[in-house]
């Protein structure tokens, strides 16, 4: 899982915060519980001490200290109840002290004497071998020998045990709770972010050729719905602007045609005149050549804007690419021969693809023309078609001047020239490869180029194969 993904980060944060919160809450609960339990325990002890003081010791002037001790023993039986009771006279004489408790939780003999001078009620905690002894003390009597300190205590072992159990429960419960929360949170986040995934997928599919498509709008009423709607608005604005720029190219090329016709007509008329001076004739010829070039550019731009508009898909029939390539290479062989270039044609018929035959032919023509143009005399141009079960690869390779590395990413751009002066000399509008690319894109084919400057170039077109071979017989 990607550690930078939104769902991962959200869940990590959420789990971290939850753990901290749980630990804090647990600690607070634990402390509060301990305090409450101890306070409660001390309160009970204090009440007992008061009982002893105000009911039993109050009878001393009539009775004796020994009878008080007996009564305490009888009424409270501290040993059986694991309680500590001690009555001390102000002069330090013990009136009564309970014995070993049944659970051996403390040793009564080792409990230090209380501060005898202190008045009123007070609490203290004595640390003993096992746990602590919680003690409540009450003083009774005015002063001198008639003053007593009654102490009632109990070991906190039992409450400590309870607290330990609570602690264990928390230690087990917390990780389980966090685990549940993380799993639940993860599922929720995934569900909430699923539309994002869908939007991203769809957005990747949308290129300049299918801008009419829109992203799925999740009807959740949340931020994601707003996001998808605003993205769709953006795409439609993009579509409008691309549409208007395409429309501009189409309109402009269109409008240029009539003046070009007039220009060419006038110049042709002049050039046909037999009485012209050679210099004038040359000038007229040169002008006519430029008009031709202009017309060619206009045609190229129109063809491109039509391909952009998706017109190429109007005609989609199966045809034999192998046969098409071989025929085209044959038709162009004289061009190569004229430059003393060998054309090696390695194709076999029966390789069927689907598309517009005339346009695919133009692809082969443009690639071969380029290869011949940029290969010096004596070079070789190789046209090869290979195929596997699903794809056809058409390859045009030459051992010509090649394309510099830095120019490679741009060769399919409109009007791009590797080296202005060199290629303009060779003629052409600078649109040949853009047209190749546009036709290939319209046919769902990929075109790629590899080249080493000075060693040659290789153009490859990869297109889906039509499996049904019977169409060959039909065509």
């Amino acid at each position: 899982m990607n550690s930078r993904s939104l769902s991962f980060r959200l869940v990590t944060w959420y789990a971290g915060l939850l753990t901290v919160l749980f630990v804090l809450l647990g600690a607070l609960t634990f402390l509060f519980l301990r305090h409450f339990l101890e306070a409660n325990l001390l309160d009970i002890q204090a009440r007992r001490a008061r009982q002893i003081a105000y009911t039993l010791l109050a009878g001393i002037p009539g009775g004796s200290e020994a009878s008080v001790a007996k009564q305490v023993e009888m009424l409270y039986s501290p040993e059986v109840n694991d309680r500590f009771i001690r009555i001390t006279r102000a002069d330090g004489e013990l009136v009564y002290a309970s014995g070993f408790p049944k659970d051996n939780s403390f040793d009564p003999a080792r409990v230090p004497l209380p501060p005898l001078a202190r008045n009123g009620e007070f609490y203290r905690k004595e640390s003993l071998s096992r746990g602590d002894l919680l003690l409540a003390a009450v003083t009774y009597g005015a002063s001198g020998s008639a003053r007593y300190v009654v102490e009632v205590g109990v070991s906190n072992l039992r409450t400590e045990g309870t607290l330990r159990q609570v602690l264990i429960m928390m230690a087990i419960g917390l990780p389980i709770g966090v685990c549940f929360a993380v799993t639940g949170g993860f599922v929720l986040v995934r569900r909430a972010l699923k539309p994002v995934e869908q939007i991203a997928h769809k957005a990747e599919d949308i290129t300049q050729h299918n801008l009419s498509q829109r992203l799925p709008v999740v009807q959740t009423g949340d931020e994601l719905e707003r996001l998808s709607i605003s993205l769709n608005h953006m795409i439609s604005r993009l579509e409008d602007s691309i549409q208007s720029s395409k429309q501009f190219v189409a309109d402009a090329s269109h409008e240029l045609r009539t003046p070009l016709t007039v220009l060419r007509g006038e110049l042709e008329g002049l050039a046909q005149d037999q009485q012209l001076r050679p210099h004038t004739r040359e000038t007229l010829g040169s002008m006519l050549e430029e008009v031709d070039r202009l017309a060619e550019i206009v045609e190229g731009l129109l063809a491109l804007s039509r391909l952009d508009a998706g017109e190429a898909n109007s005609e989609c029939v199966p045809f034999d690419l192998g046969e098409l390539a071989a025929t085209t290479a044959d038709q162009m062989s004289l061009l190569a021969e004229d430059k003393n270039i060998t054309v090696i044609c390695d194709t076999s018929p029966g390789v069927n693809v689907e598309g517009d035959r005339a346009r695919m032919k133009q692809v082969v023509v443009n690639l071969l023309d380029n290869a011949i143009k940029y290969t010096p005399s004596g070079g070789r141009v190789c046209l090869k078609i290979t195929h596997d079960d699903s794809y056809v690869i058409l390859e045009v390779a030459d051992d010509g001047i090649g394309i510099p590395q830095e120019a490679l990413p741009h060769v399919f751009k409109r009007f791009y020239r590797v080296d202005g002066s060199r290629s303009r000399e060779q003629g052409g509008a600078g649109l040949g490869l853009s047209i190749v690319k546009s036709i290939c894109t319209a046919h769902g084919a990929q075109v790629e180029v590899a080249s080493v400057s000075g060693k040659g170039s290789r153009f490859r077109i990869k297109q889906s194969l039509v499996i049904n071979t019977s169409v060959h017989a039909l065509s």
Binding site: R257, A295, R306, T328, L334, V364
Partner: protein
């Protein structure tokens, strides 16, 4: 022969009219659809040349009206719209030929001639240009009685040039007739073939027949002095 030309671009209209008049045709001109229809409705023409984008009545509408009245007259459509679907629509509406701007005037004239004759330009079995002889059946070419061997493409090129001796053909016209549209813009292929043809047809003989008009194209004729 009387031709009606309906084209709203004044300059182009004048130019076409001049070119047609130079070929000894009588030319009537209308600058909008309404005027064109008035003329077409009133007079009998041998050929109509219509632009499609016209003010008042569109070329398409004019084409329909004319066809309703007269099934026979050949109609040549002249337009800047060259999408296949446009062409098909207008052929279905009754157009006989279709020429997209920018076109070579030589081509316009050739097409007009072909439409006026209502048939192939020349169906004679043997074509003769000066001392050059082409037998269309056996596809044999002779000059001064000597047999010249030509490849099929060279033959097709020569036959096309010989179909209208003295006329200059633009490279685009030659490509469209001898190759196909995929080769459009590949003008140097024509130059190469013409050079090869020249080597066989002209080089061994004192009189040169293949004529080059720079910027315009090639032609076949006796005064190949350029």
């Amino acid at each position: 022969m009387r031709i009606l030309l309906v084209e709203d671009e004044k300059k182009l209209c004048d130019l076409i009219a001049r070119a047609l008049k130079a070929e000894r045709y009588a030319v009537d001109v209308a600058l909008d659809g309404q005027g064109g229809w008035a003329l077409a409705d009133t007079y009998e023409y041998d050929l109509l040349i219509l632009d499609l984008m016209l003010p008042s009545v569109s070329g398409t509408e004019l084409l329909r009206r004319v066809r309703r009245k007269n099934q026979e007259v050949p109609i040549l459509i002249l337009t800047a719209r060259d999408a296949t679907i446009d062409k098909v629509q207008h052929f279905e509406a009754g157009a006989d030929d279709y020429l997209t701007k920018p076109f070579a005037f030589a081509e316009l004239i050739m097409r007009c001639k072909a439409l006026l004759r209502r048939g192939p330009m020349s169906r004679a079995t043997v074509l003769r240009v000066a001392d050059l002889e082409m037998d269309r059946l056996s596809q044999q070419v002779r000059r001064e009685g000597r047999r010249i061997e030509l490849t099929p493409k060279e033959y097709a090129l020569l036959e096309y040039l010989a179909s209208n001796p003295g006329r200059v053909f633009s490279r685009t016209m030659i490509i469209e007739h001898v190759w196909d549209q995929s080769f459009e813009g590949l003008n140097n292929i024509v130059d190469v073939y013409v050079r090869h043809l020249r080597r066989k047809i002209d080089d061994p003989f004192p009189t040169k027949l293949i004529r080059t008009v720079r910027g315009v194209g090639y032609g076949l004729g006796e005064n190949a002095d350029i």
